[in-house]
Symmetry: C2
Subunit: 354 residues, 2 copies
């Protein structure tokens, strides 16, 4: 079980440190976990002048799974686009062919108050968003800024999906729907964009292989509304890279506790990169204030999806539930009557609960 | 004051009928309003085999303003893309050069309960979203579905903005910010897309002409989150066509009363198309159940933006506020203790309150 550990920037190193402690416990109890670290994002730029240095690339290619903290921060905001930390994230996704991004939006009953939505609208919320991650307008060619035939500057990007790209993400989404409530909503803008009309056509075709799954379709603007109006109508949602970027962030914020939400990005063979859904939070970096639970839960997803260690995954998830039930809270999820803990304090609590 | 009236499909004719009654009142009180009707969307297809027939086109080109109900419905869902009702909407926007779409998201105090968000998060909400409407991936070339060099089908669309397209929408947005709280948030995905990096660059350049306006920038995924987390941080937002489509729908749903929200789409000379933010609601069409207030408020926006009739605009808006205060509610905004009225009943109430 070779794991490349990429702390990244901002709060990345702090939250990764706590996830490593959790994995250390599992190792001392017998799991053959090996971890090695490398820099990504701003850290990659500082160490090697590249957001995704070849040192990091080699380590990740050889590993079975990657555990990532977060990348980016104001110190790097003025770099040229190819050197910006986000490029490290895009490069590693593409390099490792991590086309299936799974982002759960789950409301923990203990944290129900954190949501800005009324309790009756979000209680019990449990959505899984399946976002295609290596295609679409993120990577489509041509792209750039140029002077057009009228002598005026213009900029352009290309949204693009091939049939096989859509088919493979469809199979991932239907597979997940089969393990859940057999309801899948595919989000498109088929009334305007040929790319998403094609997306919808392929989804309908793949659906014939999963007759038990009820497939529905929704326009992206309506999906953005329905997530606010009645989010519990959704179970599994599948969509392209850019719509998935927007909708998965919206969905995670419905819970009010984005500091709790993990994510997985998988290739065809269950190799995966696991990271919290939140960012690098430069404002609180280095202060031992961050919430490490999304990273710890990302490690649990890694145990489940890449290593097939369901028992170990549940052990970690149950430990997280137990510390919440005991009332431990980092600052981002704190409320009166609970016990405020630091990032490492939360790590202590989870380790103790294991 | 020549107004082309396009009832459209679904509930369109019903809500337009009520807005016409309001305009009739103003005409009998002396405003030189002339109204003529033409079909758009599915109605255009039924009458002339085209969603935006040349009959309608001629009327709209000659008019000073267009008042639209809504377009689309299941009866037309299986038509080819060029014949689909939505294409009528895109065609008329492009034909009349309506590049500036203004979509307010306002929470009426009387309707505060309709929001799915907690009262403290949304009370007093008043956001104006300025969406570019004739560029971006909606209209960019090339687009289509083709077989690629590997012999595989793929589909593509082009996101594209020229400098002048961005400049003119920037001026509209800064102009609106000047009349409000002098805070403008430009939404982009400049960390990934060159098109929106260019957008941001031009926004910053135009900002130098409006030194009193505080310009900020936000990534679209973060904006989708912040609208849920703390929507009152926003005053005026400006963004491109596709991000604006998604975010303006999300923002309007924060109020819980999308049946109340008008919109304006303006060209360079204040010619405009005015329509409710909601759709054609085929499920309740023909039942005299729809809420006509968004359409009536769209007529008020028309009086303000195209005709410079501020007093008449306020007279309509005050009548709407008065009927809400009196407790009249259509089904979509009904709550216990209020008086439920039909679509035409709401029209009666507004006319009476004028
Ligand atoms: C940082 C950025 C490039 C990235 C994305 O847009 O994919 C992020 O928003 C995410 O969702 O992981
Ligand atoms: C119907 C559709 C083409 C349209 C759009 O995407 O612009 C609608 O969603 C809107 O926002 O007016």
């Amino acid at each position: 079980m070779k794991i490349a550990v990429l702390p990244g920037d901002g709060i990345g190193p702090e939250i990764i440190a706590q996830a490593k402690r959790v994995l250390d416990v599992l190792r001392s109890d017998g799991l053959p976990i090996e971890m090695e670290e490398a820099p990504l994002g701003g850290a990659g730029y500082d160490a090697f002048g590249q957001p995704y240095p070849s040192f990091t690339q080699n380590l990740c290619r050889q590993a079975d799974a990657v555990l990532l903290g977060a990348v980016g921060g104001p110190a790097y905001d003025n770099l040229d686009r190819p050197l910006r930390p986000e490029r490290g994230l895009l490069a590693i996704r593409k390099d490792l062919n991590l086309f299936a991004n799974l982002r759960p939006a789950i409301l923990y009953p203990e944290l129900a108050n954190a949501s800005t939505l009324k309790p009756e609208v979000v209680s019990g919320l449990d959505i899984m968003i399946v976002r295609e991650l290596t295609g679409d307008i993120y990577f489509g060619q041509p792209r750039g800024i140029a002077v057009n035939e009228l002598g005026e500057r213009e900029a352009y990007n290309t949204m693009r999906y091939s049939e096989s790209e859509i088919r493979r993400i469809a199979h991932v989404a239907f597979g997940i729907a089969m393990k859940r409530n057999k309801k899948l909503c595919s989000v498109d803008k088929a009334n305007v964009l040929e790319t998403t009309e094609f997306w919808k056509e392929i989804m309908i075709d793949v659906a014939r292989e999963y007759p038990q799954v009820e497939l529905s379709h929704m326009y992206v603007d309506n999906a953005a509304m329905q997530l606010v109006r009645n989010p519990k109508q959704f179970d599994v949602m599948v969509t392209g890279n850019i719509f998935g970027d927007i909708l998965s962030d919206e969905a995670s914020m419905l819970t009010g506790s984005i500091g709790m939400l993990p994510s997985a990005s998988l290739d065809q063979n269950n190799k995966g990169l696991y990271e919290p859904s939140h960012g690098s939070a430069p404002d609180i970096a280095g202060k031992n204030l961050a919430n490490p639970l999304a990273t710890i839960l990302s490690a649990a997803m890694m145990l489940r999806y890449t290593f097939g260690q369901e028992a170990a995954a549940q052990r970690v998830e149950n430990a997280v539930k137990a510390v919440l039930a005991k009332g431990y809270r980092t600052a981002d999820i704190f409320e009166a009557g609970c016990e405020k803990v630091s990032c490492s304090g939360m790590g202590d609590a989870v380790v103790a609960a294991m």
